[in-house]
């Protein structure tokens, strides 16, 4: 598995450890898209935050049909642990939660016990699910155009039916942020979401209103609808500093380290 890490200058100070923001990419992406297109590094450098960008699926496993679709298989792991026998080596949920941090602990400079998580589209879904299923594991969670209610939309239904097998409708609830937030009983979890009013997938795949409604009385959710913005990395680049500032509030007890 390939991943990218951005170390801010603060991480080069001997004995210093910097907080970590995980960024989970969307369908078709690799670890490169965020690093090359979001323009996040300069502000992360100013704040003293490390950025970790994993890939979106295993690659090259040789599973029949793994490269047939852009929204299933390679580049589309959906951040679940597959239970369908054919796809059982697709375990992106466990990878992000446990295996990747274990690898990161072998690198100097990262304070892995002080982490937040964000993501885009399929990765926004992944960030919300990982944070909601593991209370306390992440100090805050944010998402750009997340797939908020995957059991109810085509992308999620296709992925869950493939990865979770015949009982996906029930099993999928365990990976559906809107279902998870209804049952959430953990500590307060700050949530920031930005979605574009001109996002071509807003009404068919994203459904931020479903999550907002389900989170009422459970979590403090800031969900912004940004008119004129679409599903692209230009939108992410427009708001990524807001998201880093948001996470910095919870990760940096003593304020930004410039």
């Amino acid at each position: 598995m390939v991943f990218s890490v951005f170390f801010p200058p603060a991480a080069a100070v001997q004995a210093a450890k910097v907080p970590v923001v995980y960024y989970l990419s969307g369908l078709t992406c690799t670890d490169d898209n965020f690093i090359q297109k979001a323009g996040a590094q300069r502000h992360a450098a100013e704040l003293g935050l490390a950025l970790v960008a994993p890939d979106t699926s295993p690659r090259g496993l040789g599973i029949e049909g793994e490269d047939d679709s852009w929204d299933f298989g390679t580049g589309a792991g959906f951040y679940v642990d597959a239970t369908a026998d054919k796809w059982k080596r697709y375990r992106m949920y466990s990878y992000i939660l446990r295996e990747l941090p274990q690898v990161l602990r072998t690198l100097p400079g990262l304070d892995l016990d002080n982490a937040s998580i964000c993501g885009h589209s399929m990765g926004g879904h992944g960030a919300l699910v990982l944070a909601l299923k593991n209370p306390g594991a992440f100090k805050s969670v944010s998402a750009f155009a997340p797939i908020c209610n995957p059991t109810q939309v085509p992308w999620g239904q296709k992925a869950f039916a493939g990865y979770l097998g015949d009982s996906w409708q029930e099993a999928g609830k365990a990976y559906d942020a809107t279902e998870l937030v209804k049952a959430y009983t953990g500590p307060q979890l700050p949530v920031l979401m930005d979605t574009g009013g001109d996002d071509e997938f807003l009404k068919t795949q994203l459904h931020p209103w479903a999550f907002e409604e389900a989170a009422k009385g459970k979590l403090q959710v800031t969900s912004r609808m940004n008119e004129g913005y679409d599903h692209s990395y230009f939108t992410i680049a427009s708001f990524v500093s807001d998201h880093l500032d948001f996470h910095a509030r919870y990760l940096l007890a003593s304020g930004p380290r410039i």
Copy 2:
């Protein structure tokens, strides 16, 4: 010819016209690289500057061998007007100076009489040459890792020999920033250059010191050597706001329009 324009929000104000910063890309690039990878739009939006990113050559002319090299022909127009018969339709110098602005004048919101120019590598060469050959046409010029003395380095020699024909060694001086600055007699032209100390092309292709030496007593040049930075768009992303701030000083008489 394809080009990209970023209009800042200030350009949407009725009757407002915003200054223009041209960005010329390097070898192998299209109009897309800067727009997708440099992360310049947000700061340009804050300053109220439009960004214009042209392509780096004509494409698909059907000239024999036009796609054979990554450093000559397609994607490598070198911002000259070719005189060699075979390449006479390669006229990137005139395109940037005259044809592109003519097209841009048909779009609303751009103050084309208030423009600056910058570029990267081959595009840094192009920006310096266009500014030095046309005193007063650009309020300021800046470059990331420019090819400063192309008649003396392999990239420039290959390009000039191909585009300018047998007499390229003499003809090339008219497209060599180090030669041009020696003879410059125009009004003061502010110059900012950023080059990476770890740029893999620094000693073989860029030669910023040649330009710095030639510009002494002619122009006020700020040329920074940034240790640890390479030839990539990550370097551009690190310094692009500095360059926009620099141009804004000369383009915005009344200061940034936020």
